[in-house]
Symmetry: C2
Subunit: 249 residues, 2 copies
């Protein structure tokens, strides 16, 4: 039996997704627990796979892992501290979460006086297919990627920028967001972005902090059965209350 | 110059408020930073004092610390990781945050089928002045305390219970909440609570988990100037989105 599990986490509680010796990582905690409880024997035999290896500090609400299991994998997963089980689906034995219809990343920006139209114009430059060499940490992979959708909107003090695409490069979203912010603050202009996107001239826009980035969802040609953890309901109220209690006093 | 600062924190990121050697605590982080930056020389000279020593795991949105300082204490405090600066006030040199008009604690309960009227009735038994010996970890202090206000309400999946009083005993709120939950689940009855409150018969109701408890606010005869950290705005949106994205799919 192969299961796909949609997981969430607060990136600040881990040293990233990918397993590392003697460090608390998302993958490390999951594999440790699955092996300890006999749900899987080892990573290879269980064909343990994931959708995205989020960096240190990056959050998730919809990363996906998959493995062959025996026993109540869901129950065991729900007992792992600091990992939220957002949903699950039983999948066929060949399912690899890496091959998805799309991934959506969301970046949260605190609005301390941005010109929203400028931000929006800057963000939209990244839509479509480009060579993102100057907006990523480049390894051996093809630097050409297609961003299918970019959505930017403002709600109160928060600006949310969504990026949807099949696959992204390492640091790509955070480097794109850093460029958008620089233009939004008047410290770079649209032409700088176009020059870097067309590889005419490299501009160092920097990299936006990981804690405001979240892997929001990964989509496939099937649905997950939602399973929202209690902690999320409580945390939501907690932060709503945080703003309510001390505002306007 | 003496300053009072209203602070918040996610209890899961610390080993409680009170300083301990080689452990990350709220007080430890604050004192370390204030000394390192020369804002204070040491705890004693600065008359560093606090409103409440929250236990390991307990959250705060309105704990209060106070100290004599030179330099930009606020700026230094805002740079401490995982501590939110919710507000500040300049106070007279004799101000001790322990002596307040009232403290409000809030407990968040996930509603998995409670009878709300029963919960409410159980909660209200604790209002007023009682000997809380059987609802606290007792030390040398007077076990008689007065709870001025108890408020319980339901919002969606979450039940919030607020307790307001001048001073509480160690573990008092969590032991009271454990009793309310037991009655709400039909595993104890009102009489058990009354018997324990009147010290007729000790009943072991257990202790509710710390992560759902928050020190919401501490009140004085002056107001704080509110200073809401960006992180709280972002976290609020993050948890609202968490429920939105994966629900009803």
């Amino acid at each position: 039996m192969r299961i796909a599990i949609k997981i969430g986490y607060d990136g600040s509680k881990f040293n990233g997704f990918a397993m590392q010796p003697r460090k608390k990582t998302v993958e490390g905690e999951i594999l440790h627990t699955l092996k300890k409880t006999g749900i899987i024997e080892n990573r290879k035999k269980a064909k343990f796979q994931y959708a995205a290896r989020t960096d240190k500090g990056v959050n998730a609400l919809g990363n996906v892992i998959s493995f062959n299991c025996k026993g109540n994998a869901l129950k065991v997963m729900q007992d792992i501290k600091d990992i939220w089980i957002m949903g699950y689906a039983y999948v066929d034995e060949h399912f690899n979460p890496r091959y998805c219809l799309s991934k959506t990343y969301r970046y949260y920006l605190y609005d301390d006086g941005f010109d929203f139209d400028t931000l929006k114009k800057a963000a939209m430059l990244f839509k479509g297919e480009h060579d993102f060499s100057y907006f990523a940490r480049i390894d051996a992979r093809n630097p050409i990627r297609k961003i299918d959708k970019i959505d930017i909107r403002k709600k109160g003090k928060i600006i949310k920028i969504d990026f949807e695409g099949k696959s992204f490069l390492w640091h790509q979203i955070r480097r794109i967001v850093a460029a958008i912010i620089k233009v939004g603050r008047g410290k770079a202009n649209m032409e700088d972005i176009l020059n870097a996107l067309n590889k005419i001239k490299r501009v160092n826009f920097g990299i936006a902090p990981p804690e405001n980035l979240v892997l929001l969802d990964v989509k496939y040609n099937f649905d997950f059965i939602p399973l929202l953890p209690e902690e999320i309901f409580i945390k939501k109220e907690f932060f709503i209350d945080a703003l309510r209690v001390h505002r306007n006093k």
